[in-house]
């Protein structure tokens, strides 16, 4: 089978890969690059566990062909915290008990990140909309919304 060559930036690092024409961005991140923080929950765009940022936009990486990522900049959950220090969003998830099994967490963190990057002071409704593509089967959403509000405050430099 003919492989397709793609150049993209993943968490700030340029990478060049030969990918199968039908490989999903999710497969390439998890299998080729070993970035298993991005999860596959459903594989059909329902659950958001595979959420990553492509040029700042949150996308379901299970619905994106890796070969279409030429020249794009991808940010995964591994890319948001430097040297194991917690990003304010991660800290807020921890503080607010916004996770149980944690399988949905990387996707939720990325959706919240994409929101806060665009809108540092979102309303609760805006937060709900931003995470509406992320399903959590154990914790629910209340704590996640509170964590997002708290992270927004911290990122704005308040308290």
């Amino acid at each position: 089978m003919e492989l397709v060559s793609v150049h993209m930036t993943v968490n700030g690092q340029p990478v060049e890969l030969q990918v199968k024409p039908y490989a999903r961005l999710l497969d390439v991140l998890r299998e080729d690059l070993g970035l298993t923080g991005t999860k596959e929950g459903c594989g059909v765009g329902e659950c958001g566990a595979c959420t990553v940022l492509v040029d700042g936009e949150n996308v379901n990486s299970c619905l994106v062909l890796a070969s279409s990522m030429e020249g794009k900049s991808i940010q995964t959950v591994e890319g948001i915290s430097a040297d194991e220090s917690l990003h304010p969003i991660q800290q807020a998830f921890l503080d607010h008990h916004a996770l149980q099994c944690g399988f949905c967490t990387p996707g939720l963190v990325m959706s919240v990140k994409s929101l806060l990057d665009r809108n540092p002071n979102p309303t609760r409704e805006e937060i709900k909309t931003a995470i509406s593509g992320n399903l959590c089967r154990c914790t629910g959403y209340q704590q996640v919304i509170e964590a997002a509000e708290d992270a927004a405050r911290v990122m704005r430099g308040e308290n």
């Binding site: 298993t36 959950v77 591994e78 008990h97 399988f103």
Partner: protein, 124 residues
């Protein structure tokens, strides 16, 4: 605020490994052929085409992709059976062979078996 749970830090930092995140050298991969019906009886399974697929020995394969491809070649014949898809208020009007009635009876039997350990059964 503090959170003393021992598992959360790893999870929030994406360091936690879930089963699907583990990698083992020389691992064989399996793929599951799932039944497309909620309730059915398996009449026959023909895996001869699957066994001929590249990289496949029995029902496991060298790569996950090969396993998934081979799983598509497994032919299963089903007899579709009636299924319980929602809970009814009362099962009184249903014939005793209906899946809902059998389901409730099974649940009751299981409850009976475990009774000393369980709170009283709720009515179905």
């Amino acid at each position: 605020m503090t959170n003393n749970r021992i598992d959360v830090l790893e999870k929030v930092l994406d360091k936690a490994k879930y089963v699907n995140d583990l990698r083992f050298p020389d691992a064989l991969h399996g793929a599951v052929v799932r039944c497309p019906y909620p309730h059915a009886r398996v009449i026959s399974i023909d895996d001869s085409a699957a066994k001929c697929a590249e990289g496949v020995a029995m029902v496991v394969a060298a790569t996950l992709e090969q396993a998934r491809e081979a799983a598509k070649l497994v032919r299963v014949e089903y007899e579709e059976l009636p299924a319980v898809t929602r809970r009814r208020r009362s099962s009184r009007a249903l014939p005793s062979s209906s899946p809902m009635v059998t389901f409730c009876a099974t649940i009751r039997q299981e409850r009976e078996m475990w009774r000393p350990a369980l709170p009283p059964p709720t009515t179905f």
